[in-house]
């Protein structure tokens, strides 16, 4: 059986069912369905490994006319990643949201989000991607706004405006491409290539729209309040997965077109923006006094690394490009895991100390070491310290940088790594303080702590098994041949 449509259908159906269920049934129902959907995601991956690319022509019509779902290694890994992260965020949320007014809205929105993510991973149609992105954007905005206080509403509003502007820019690009090629299928785009100036301009429009949605510096302004102010599981999901969706589309676009002839200038603009993100995000994270805002800025910084992908694959030697691909994929996965873990851990810490401020963390290390451990483990991976997926990714990125001769990125990698280490340490340092001790800390439920820990340690374990997902990711991808 082809699992692809189920990846979208099942979350949609669950969303509807959850929407209709009474509040107290929503969490258990969601968890049950999440297990089921996770199994399907894994099954998809297995099938992709076994058979190669999977395709499903929706409504029975072939590509330019109908819409085709397609799963290669990248898609399958992203689906599994989504399942993994969402699963544990859901586990955390089940405990975290119990009895809160936000619980009612959270669960259906979570499922819509999952559906939107899966539809984006699977889609091969530019306009369908637009609808998917909009679905995802509105869901994410809704999730951010859930708590309904002034801060989160303002953050949601800002996020919504950014998302809308980004989508429109993307839509204009879609319009130009349709006008030029008369088709919206990615495969047709690949056939026609970039030779036409209109397509190039469309690409620029779409790229910047997506970049805005990915919150790349200097367009990141909406992200910290949104991710920092949202509910903990929401922050984790947004940082780990949602911003990756627009990046995923961008990467798909670039990899679909022939990288050899893509505009190097544009790639370099993206690379420079990425570098700026790494430095600025790291610096701002260091300056934060609120824990979750620090983590949010760390996302800004980490996104920057992912954008170094573009200059490294555009017009460079094949070895460098392959390395950059591997590096970015690994970075993407490990960041998703680590950042989700870190946000959950931060949420647990905030819950334990009852204050969002880093300065109030004193004594946490002694009384709630487990949450802190998760935070630290995630921090190790984020800072690119070994042994972790983050480190391996950084290593590959470094190799790619050296292989391509683009030395410019070296200082960025280093300063960025040090900055991220610095802000992680800032948090740890505060929690190590043994001053006038508070001995009253709330205890987060064990499920909450474990979901954070599992995600964080997964990114660490990734450091030892990096080769495995990288092999999967090559299936059906542009570097299927290997390096």
């Amino acid at each position: 059986m082809n699992p692809l449509p189920w990846l979208v259908v099942l979350p949609l159906m669950t969303a509807l069912v959850i929407f209709l269920l009474p509040t107290r049934w929503r969490a258990p129902g969601s968890l049950l369905a999440a297990v089921f959907l996770s199994l399907i995601s894994i099954y998809t991956l297995v099938e992709v490994i076994r058979l190669g690319i999977l395709v499903h022509a929706l409504a029975g019509y072939a590509a330019p006319l109908g819409i085709r779902l397609r799963a290669d290694g990248f898609t399958a890994v992203m689906a599994v990643l989504t399942a993994l992260v969402t699963m544990f965020c859901a586990v955390q949320a089940a405990a975290y949201l119990r009895g809160k007014p936000e619980e009612e809205g959270f669960w259906p929105l979570l499922w819509f989000m999952w559906a939107a993510l899966n539809s984006i991973w699977l889609s091969t149609d530019l306009f369908n991607l637009y609808v998917g992105v909009e679905l995802l954007g509105l869901t994410a905005v809704g999730l951010v706004a859930l708590s309904g206080n002034a801060q989160s509403l303002a953050a949601a509003m800002r996020y919504l405006l950014a998302a809308l502007l980004g989508s429109l820019s993307y839509l204009i690009g879609v319009a130009l491409i349709y006008g030029e090629l008369g088709s919206l299928a990615l495969s047709d785009l690949a056939l026609h290539g970039i030779g036409l100036p209109t397509v190039l301009i469309a690409l620029v429009m779409m790229t910047f729209g997506l970049v805005l949605k990915t919150a790349l510096f200097p367009l990141h302004g909406w992200l910290p309040p949104a991710h920092g102010g949202a509910l903990t599981p929401v922050s984790a999901l947004l940082s780990a997965l949602v911003i990756k969706a627009s990046l995923y589309i961008l990467m798909r676009l670039w990899m679909t077109l022939d990288v050899a002839v893509l505009p190097v200038y544009l790639a370099w603009i993206l690379g420079l923006m990425g570098s700026g993100a790494v430095l600025w995000g790291g610096w701002m994270a260091l300056r934060q006094n609120r824990l979750k805002h620090l983590v949010a800025y760390s996302t800004v910084a980490q996104v920057g690394y992912l954008f170094l992908f573009f200059p490294l694959v555009t017009g460079t030697a094949a070895t460098a490009a392959v390395l950059a691909w591997d590096a970015t994929m690994l970075m993407l996965i490990s960041h998703a895991l680590a950042k989700a873990g870190m946000f959950l851990a931060a949420g647990n810490l905030v819950f334990a100390i009852g204050s969002p401020r880093i300065a109030d963390l004193a004594g946490v290390c002694r009384f709630r070491p487990f949450s802190l451990l998760s935070f630290g483990v995630a921090g190790v991976s984020l800072a690119g310290l070994p042994p972790s997926g983050g480190f391996n990714a950084k290593w590959l990125l470094l190799q790619s940088t050296l292989a391509s001769g683009q030395w410019v990125w070296l200082p960025v990698l280093f300063i960025g790594g040090l900055l991220s280490a610095a802000y992680v340490i800032k948090v740890l340092g505060h929690s190590f303080i043994e001053g006038p001790l508070r001995d009253h800390f709330r205890t987060p439920p064990l499920t909450q702590e474990f979901s954070a820990f599992i995600l964080a340690s997964a990114s660490l374990v990734l450091g030892f098994v990096s080769q495995v997902p990288l092999t999967w990711l090559r299936i059906g991808g542009p570097f299927a041949g290997g390096g």
């Binding site: 820019s169 301009i201 910047f208 603009i269 300065a359």
Partner: protein, 578 residues
Amino acid sequence: MNATMTAFGLVLAPILPLLLLLFWCVPALRPRVEVLTPWAAVPAVLLVLFGETGMRVELSWLLFGSALAMDTLTRVFLAFTALLWLGAGLYSQGMLVNDERAGSFRLAWLATMAGNFTLLLAVDVVTFYVGFALMTFAAYGLIIHSRDPEALFAGRVYLIMAILGEGLIIAGLLLAASRTAAPLAAMLADIPAAVMDAPYRDLIIACFFLGFGVKAGVPLVHMWLPLAHPAAPTPASAVLSGAMIKAGLFGWMATLPFGLVALPQWGLGVITTGFVAAFGGALIGVHQRKAKTVLAYSSISQMGLITAGIGAGLYQPALWPALAPALALYAFHHGLAKGALFLGVGVANQAAAHWRFGLWLALALPGLSLAGPMVSGAVAKVSLKIVLEAGIATPTWWRYLPLLLSLAAIGTTTLIARYLWLLSQSEPRAKISGIQWLGWGLLLAVSVVGLILLPWVPTISGIPPDPIYLPDLIWPVLVGLVLAVCASRFLRSWPVPEGDLIIVFPMAARGVWNFLQYVLLKVTHFFIWRRQIRHQRKSVEADTRLERSDVEYLLRRNAALVFALLLAVGLIASILNP
């Protein structure tokens, strides 16, 4: 005594003190060790008396492969050293009866003794250096035994000089050893030859001369001697002056390239230094007010003569085969005599009035021996003189050397006179016990007739104390006595401080050091990146101020504009893209 026993003795002599030292750490054994401490030198004495030369014990598992052996030269040195340790040890046993720091004294004593024996018996360089260092550092404990300010000052000066000396010695040893066949396990016997061929020959010689010279009281590095001897307890002074100083001499004799190459410049320099020490020591010594200080300067003076002999050896290699035993003899004689004299300080004024003169005479005996006419001293001096005269053929000034020796004896005589006079003036000390008498008596005896203990030394059989040398020996003594009497009548002593130059040095040195330290600190501070990590303020206002950034604010406020601008830039870039 068969070979096995010799081997056993070779090992036991240095090890026994160390074993006792270890046993001391066990509280239950402590009283036994206390009784045994003075007798720790007995194996060494027995070894000297009954051991066989040429026997070698290989301890290949130890360090880089150690070996112990005793040759004739070593035997002479070991003879007087062991006797000194034994005699002084016996003396100290009585002295320590009511001493609250007896334990620390004994530990230092044993360690110093072990070091001293080890360095004498060592065959390889490393073991030699082990012994030397052990002796050097442990002696500090002896010097500062009383803990009074003088002792502590003396100890500090001693330690600084000793460490400088150690540094020079290790440098010299390294430089020399690297030229031998097996640098890592170099034999002491190979060192002179290595020095001879070494590219840094003069540097090595300088290292050795000054490094061992610290112990031997060479001028300018002698300052610790007059400070340490009076400050240390009497038996400690005895071994410091008798044995430890000679270790320096032993070091020279073992390492410098005697008899291999003529080093006229070095020879001349060393001879000059020696005589400067001989006369300078005497000159300063007679102005001292403490008997032990006088003895210390006397030691400097005597060592000056020996240094001159060393210089002669450097100047004329051919003389060395004869000179070496002569110097050894001289060391033997001086060591024992000086030991007896030092212990005498404690013994003086002990006896009842009618015995006092006898005691005084007994004290004078080693003094006379030192000055020349007595048995041991006579032999030693005559031997030295004969050897020096044998080399007279060379430069003209050489022929004055024997004369200078005689003149030095005048100084020695005056020093002894001064010493005796000071003793007679001093207050009686605490009553001493029988074992102290025994110790002193032993040293007194061997210092007078000790040479008969050395039947195996060829020089002694070769050069009997010929009566023709008697006038030569006696006239300086007479002159010295006259001088001393005159001086005591007509001259007032100058207040030359103990340790002479050292009193001037620290002021200059401290100034220089402070300056250096200042400069160093400035330089280092310049390079150290010191940044005060700012403490985060706790107030909420500061909080938000910190968190916000103007740039971030502008970016967020104008996000749409920034987006549009970026888009424009991207579009222009893509249009212009070739």
